[in-house]
Amino acid sequence: EPFRLILTHLEPPLVPNSVMDLAHELGYFENEGVEVELIRVQQTPSALAALSAGEGDMANIGLDALLQLHARGQTDLVAVASPNKSLPFLIAARETIAIPFEQNHSFAIGRVGSLDHGLSLNVLEALGAQTDAIEFVALGQPSVRAQALAAGQIDMTTMSIGVWLAMPDKSGLEILVDPDTYYEAAPVVQKVNVVSREVLETRREDIEAVLRALIALSRDFAADPDFWAEAIAPYAPQLSDAERRELSQSFAQSWSVNGGLNADELQFSQDWLFETPDFDGLDPAPITQWTAFAPLDTILETLGQAPDLDPPAR
Amino acid sequence: MTEKPSQPALEFAGVSKTFDPADARPAVSNIDFALPQGMFISLLGPSGCGKTTLLRLADGLIAPDSGTIAAFGAPPRPGPEIGFVFQSFRLIPWASVAANVEFSLRSLPLSKAERTERALHWLEKVGLSRFAQSWPDTLSGGMKQRVALARAFAPNPSLLLMDEPFASLDAQTRELMQAELLSLWSEQKASVLFVTHSVDEALLLSDTILLMGTRPGRIVETLTVDLERPRDPDAIRADTRFIALRQHLSKKMRELVLSDPQSDFYGR
């Protein structure tokens, strides 16, 4: 019976989260002796419904969704790894705009109170922008936000580097806040891989095999950035070889070579998230309630910890 | 249906029917009559006096507000034993002429082949065998009426309710259809309740004529036609009894239409 891994993207994205697709593609799962089936859904809610329906064994979902569930008493799912702790977000805007803003601007977000809303507010504040001069417009999907920006209906928005690169015609637009600056201002874990407690018990070996494969590939990518640039090539026809290499270099620090679970980061992320309006009136749960370090710890014992990147604090 | 010959084919006792509760006057009121088995009764009366309503009641298509109706001793139930020729022809537009006739045969235990054969037989009788596969919408008014006749005749009903069944036919075709009706009536011992506006036709065909008045619809006279059968259409017109009955009926009708204060044409 294959191990079903649910992804919330439709093609390997131009971010380190592509490690899951590429592990499948490059045979890393097979090497670890686990047959993995990738199931693609559009959004976190579908992934969650699929998990609770037993239609998948592991899913890559937003950390905010996991915390919401636990805060609301749904404690069945636990995080076991994070192949890509935080997506390389950036703020794209019209060329004429600069921080601090001179006038009112409109800023597209997914939804009032959503993760990207909170992160962007943080980033802008950290950069000294007048956030009360910004009109936040909720637009939903990142691609719609990008379209609205390109159409001149809004002044700026947050998107991942992948979306930015995919936009074919960017004339008149520029990156207002680059991914590094963005991450520094709001170092929050965004995505984690979760499994249900039942799967954690019954398919422990498969879980470990999957995580081993992801760690192995992450380490390979970290060791040789060109490897990723090559592997992603079929999915990024619009990028030149050089652009892909450049992109790959910029991810050099982002690979989850130790599984991506760091108790301090997770604590920080939880604290941060619980400050946002979506979590109003909710109480945080201890990290150990929504995270299972055990599978990673078993793996790291045999594989050994990778130095430098991704310190696995517990 | 167990038909004791002693039971009348149809019996109305104190029957009234009002369509519009807001209207004080019923469509038909206090109707009493019996149609013994094998008899031929005609209904004659001014426009809107309730003849059609009476037939619908007799078939059990609508229920009376008061009074009782019995067909062969039981409350009437629509079925192949009671044939109905509607005033408007009511052909099924999406069924061929043959299929329209076959439709009334479906309530009988017949095979498809038997149905087809019987339908064709009756279409021939009404002179439309060539149109068996036509759509009703391509027929003339008189042709439609003949299809409706074939449909009512085909199941060999023991009671026939006919609402001006020959109104759209030319005199000659009408005579042929009258002959078909009479042969069905005499050979199959069917009973007939027949609505017509032609005094001559009523006299030619019936044993009894019920003359109806209007507002409310009611039976004003029951007239026995004691002319021996078979009645030759041409010869009988010269018969003095025929002429007398004819005059009597015409006078009565005139009174009902012109001298009845209830009538729309009172005093014209």
């Binding site: 439709l10 093609e11 199931i39 693609r40 859904v41 559009q42 959004q43 809610p45 579908s46 969650l48 419904a49 699929a50 609770s52 329906a53 037993g54 239609e55 998948g56 999907q141 990142p142 691609s143 990008a146 379209q147 390109a150 159409a151 001149g152 979306v163 995919a166 936009m167 074919p168 015609d169 004339s171 | 619908r56 078939d59 298509l61 139930r77 629509p78 079925g79 192949p80 034993e81 009671i82 109905f84 509607f86 408007s88 009511r90 099924i92 537009p93 999406w94 069924a95 439709f103 009334s104 479906r106 309530s107 759509w135 009703p136 919408d137 391509t138 449909r151 199941p155």
Partner: protein
Amino acid sequence: MTALYRLAFLFLLILGWFIASQFIGRNIIPTPLATLQAGARLFSEGRLLEATGQSLAVFLSGFFLATFVAIPLGAMMGAIRPFGKTLDVYVFALAATPRVAFIPLVIVLLGLGIEAKAFIVFLGAVMPILINTYAGVLAADKELVEMARSTGAPQTRIFSHIVLPGALPFVAVGLRIGATIGLINTVVAELYTAVTGLGGLLALYGNTFRMAEYFVIVICLAIIGVVMTEILRFIESRLGRWKMS
């Protein structure tokens, strides 16, 4: 003649499209030529056909299921008035509720596969067919029904021979609208359960701004819609031959 007019109109459409592609903002409308090229590429890669096959399987199973449920149910609601009157508010309530709201439930009950997708298509297609059939049955010719009753026809025969054929124009529109909504829901289903088929490609190309490919998928969906409705129209005209004269 009609074919000629249609072609002329198609030409106008493509012209309008071309002009729009030149004047409306970038990233939104590809030129017809680029779309054609993208179409050829997708087709030769076999991707388009595979996706179309997946989507058609979802669409057809959902649509036929909807037909088989909606026509009898609508007919029954029209025939048995208390039954119809009891249910119809709820039918309208259900019809007005976004299908998307039920998707988590559908996934929990039916998973992510073709069953779940077909069910979402079913949810979309069933309502127009049901509502139209219901209205068609209620609009039955009372005189013909009385005639049928007078021949002793049982309810079932009155239904199959008089009421349903009479409701045909209604049912036919219902099926057509149902088919178009079913197609739209195919895309929705393919987006919200496991991503596959034309819906998956639509999302993929939309998210990555490959508008020429995106338009290929949109046109592909439109063509499927036209083919379906033309098939339905053909069936209807066969059944409605008597009206030709």
